[in-house]
């Protein structure tokens, strides 16, 4: 078969993979025909736009910091290395949705019935994958090379090119392995307790890994700061971290900056790792198939089911669906994020203001989580639409689920504050605030349901339906703020912590009662 025909087939597969990725990550809503058509039309330009943005980001990340570097070859090499590192993580983040969709193999099902040999199928698969990364890869490989050639001379180019190539390989390998990790550990269902724990941990790690990629930019300042303050120690440290050893080789080979040649040795394992990752990645992308990755239960199962009450039934379903969806896996990482965000707030001497801020973060994170849980059903509303369940029950269950997920962090704060600073009534404000989490979650979801006319077949996407999300957040903020405010005011005028805590408890209980009344009014059966 000629290459032109394989390229044409790969174009169709590429379009389908992108379409599946959009469905997977952007909540196509109720999948109405109109919505699907809209989505189909947007596949081409959305992907072109993604590639363009990624390419522009790679150019900016590489050129501007490098051009602004102070002329010291060492600092310049660190800057270029950091740019490559950031490019690697941005590329990984950008490609993760499409790689996950690609690995599902759905887009290649049709191809297996065509008169194509296995070799041709592999070629189509590889060509499809290349289409995802073509333009950004060209810029990743050429821009650092040209920049270093112009600044340092042509001697630096081989080392910089090797580093760029390895950056590309590592980025692809990370995307592929994060995606296959998702399918292998998250989607596979085995009913043993240890497998369930492993799956849950993977979900948390997966969610953390995916969302943390965006934070990688923060390391730039740290590395630059470290390098400028402790240059000699930095050489040894940097020679161990990819891709800095290659940058050291680049500047060393130009003769502008000399370092101990033994520092180049760590580049060898990275090259070997790159080769290994590259071969492994090629073997995976040449035969994507969901059947290969997803396994069912083994042996003859016990035909028993566990029947619970309605709320628990919805919670269990939400937990299972969310924990197996790449777009919702981060929900389970939220308590860890809350903890990380709160650490600086809780450091130093505690004050009513700091404790209120921490409580506010817990409340609004929980409420936001409940909106995501709500969108979970609006992504695929038909199963729920066929069952005799009211919005009241759905909202109640989701509020309960997100509130329960906030309890560990809300319980940790009083323990931590009591352990470090001693027992104070104020320490327990976050724990009491859990009830407000429940109230605010209900208020926000009621607003969304009111705005979407309460139809189970109408979709809601927290990112796309910005007006609804904004309205819900404002209502939630109002309730949350009004619940915390009396406590803060009492403490500001010098009322004792215990009295303020009792008042806060009362107001929190009232907020729950208010939300339940609102639920009855706004979500009629």
């Amino acid at each position: 078969m000629n290459v032109k025909r394989l390229l044409n087939i790969s174009r169709a597969a590429y379009r389908e993979v992108n379409f599946q990725a959009l469905l997977l990550y952007r909540h196509a809503g109720a999948y109405t025909e109109e919505k699907i058509r809209k989505l189909q039309r947007s596949v081409g330009w959305q992907n072109a736009l993604n590639k363009l943005i990624l390419s522009v980001m790679i150019i900016f990340i590489t050129i501007f910091p490098f051009a602004a570097a102070n002329g010291d070859p060492f600092v310049e090499s660190v800057t270029l290395g950091t740019s490559l590192l950031i490019s690697m993580f941005i590329m990984t983040l950008y490609n993760l949705p499409t790689v996950t969709s690609f690995l599902s193999g759905k887009a290649f099902k049709t191809l297996t019935v065509l008169p194509l040999s296995e070799k041709e199928l592999k070629a189509v698969s590889a060509l499809t994958f290349i289409r995802f990364i073509d333009a950004p890869s060209i810029f990743l490989l050429t821009v650092p090379m040209v920049a270093s050639g112009l600044r340092w001379g042509v001697e630096a180019v081989p080392a910089v090119f090797t580093a760029s190539l390895l950056t590309l390989v590592f980025s692809m390998a990370i995307s592929i392995h994060l995606s296959s990790l998702f399918y292998r550990f998250v989607f596979n269902v085995e009913r043993s307790f240890s497998k369930s724990i492993l799956r849950f941990l993977t979900v948390i790690l997966w969610g953390l890994a995916v969302t943390s990629l965006g934070w990688i930019g923060n390391i730039v300042g740290w590395i630059i700061g470290y390098v400028s303050s402790r240059a000699s120690a930095a050489h040894e440290m940097l020679s161990l971290i990819f891709p800095y050893q290659f940058m050291l080789i680049a500047v060393h080979s130009t003769g502008k900056f000399k370092v101990n040649i033994s520092l180049f040795l760590p580049s060898i394992p990275y090259i070997l790792l790159g080769l290994l990752a590259g071969f492994k990645a090629v073997s995976i992308i040449s035969k994507p198939s969901i059947g290969r990755l997803i396994r069912g239960g083994i042996g003859k199962p016990q035909l028993s089911i566990t029947v619970t009450n309605v709320a628990l039934g919805v919670i269990k379903k939400d937990f299972r669906v969310a924990s197996r969806s790449p777009s919702h896996a981060y929900i389970f990482a939220l308590p860890i994020y809350m903890f990380l965000v709160m650490l600086p707030i809780l450091s130093g001497t505690p004050s009513p203001l700091k404790i209120s801020a921490a409580t506010g973060i817990i409340i609004f994170s929980t409420a936001t989580n409940s909106l995501y849980l709500l969108s979970l059903d609006l992504m695929n509303p038909r199963p729920l639409a066929m069952l005799p369940i009211s919005w009241r029950k759905i909202v109640f269950s989701k509020a309960l689920f997100s509130t329960v997920s906030a309890i560990p962090i809300a319980a940790f704060i009083p323990l931590y504050l009591t352990y470090v600073h001693g027992l104070w009534a104020d320490n327990f404000v976050p724990l009491i605030g859990v009830s407000t989490c429940f109230a605010v979650s209900i208020v926000e979801m009621c607003v969304i349901i009111r705005l979407t006319k309460g139809k189970l077949v109408i979709s809601y996407n927290p990112f796309k339906d910005v007006v609804a999300t904004l309205a819900a957040s404002i209502a939630g903020l109002a309730v949350g703020f009004l619940t915390i405010l009396p406590y803060l005011l009492l403490r500001a005028v010098g009322v004792a912590g215990l009295s303020a805590l009792l008042l806060f408890t009362g107001v929190s209980i009232f907020s729950v009662i208010f939300s339940m009344i609102l639920l009855r009014i706004m979500c009629r059966d």
Binding site: I290, V307, R320, R382, L456
Partner: protein, 256 residues
């Protein structure tokens, strides 16, 4: 005792396209009513409105005296609906999906266990019980969909193309379930393209075309009415497609 289903002057449009144009029919207790019609005739729209999933533009629908657009929950608890477009959570396993359905329907644990075991064995679904639905074939997914509609022993079974993707064994079992359901006092309404199935098991057939009922009665009644030998001929005659089909077949004979 109210009738299982009354549909009167039902209207529904999608933009400028009129899907239902004054559809009227009634399903009596203990009957197996087959809703037949060409593609786009409005069968799925009708079943979605009856099941409380879709709102109508006009007309009246009553399921055991309850209006699906007002008493949606009550109607959904009385019926078991197998839609043409499977409504499943693909990331769940059949076990997990049945647990969810049984929990939301508030079923008694023992009863749900018994029903699930019975149906899973009948449909030979044991080996897929713990496999993610996404990994199942179309036919196996259809089995999951059917079992989830039967778990609560519904009074009215609403089936939209229930035999699509099923093997001969499962079709035979499904027919047996439909007959047994009626014998136990239930009622069945289903749409199908398979005339032989409709001919064999329906006590009454309604043929809809362009959103209207164009013929109704038992297969025998319709055969006498339109002077046709079987249901397929009746169908083609009343939908006005007989001449067109003959012309197309003649054209194909020449070109093939």
């Amino acid at each position: 005792m109210p009738k299982p289903l009354i549909v009167e002057e039902l209207y529904k449009s999608y933009g400028n396209v009129r899907a239902l144009d004054g559809l009227t029919f009634t399903v009596d207790k203990g009957s197996i009513y087959g809703l037949l019609g060409p593609n786009g005739a409005g069968k799925t729209t009708t079943l979605n409105i009856i099941s409380g999933i879709l709102d109508r533009d006009g007309g009246k629908v009553q399921v055991y005296g309850f209006d699906p657009s007002i008493d949606g929950r009550k109607v959904k608890s009385l019926i078991g609906y197998v839609p043409e477009e499977q409504a499943l959570y693909e990331s769940l396993t059949p076990r997990e999906f049945f647990e969810f359905v049984a929990s939301v329907r508030g079923l008694d644990k023992d009863l749900a266990q018994r029903r699930v075991k019975l149906l899973v064995e009948a449909f030979d679904l044991q080996k897929y019980f713990d496999s993610p639905i996404i990994s199942l074939s179309m036919g196996t997914r259809q089995k999951v969909s059917i079992i989830s509609a039967l778990i609560h022993s519904p009074r009215l079974l609403v089936l939209d193309e229930p035999f699509v993707g099923l093997d001969a064994r499962t079709v035979a079992i499904m027919k047996g379930i439909i007959r047994e359901h009626v014998k136990n006092g239930g009622t069945v309404l289903f749409s199908t393209h398979i005339m032989e199935v409709a001919e064999k098991i329906c006590t009454k057939v309604g043929i809809i075309h362009k959103g209207r009922l164009v013929a109704e009665g038992s297969v025998e009644e319709l055969t006498g009415m339109v002077k046709a030998s079987d249901l397929e001929e009746i169908f083609l005659k009343v939908t006005g497609e007989e001449d067109e089909v003959s012309r197309i077949i003649a054209g194909l004979e020449e070109s093939l």
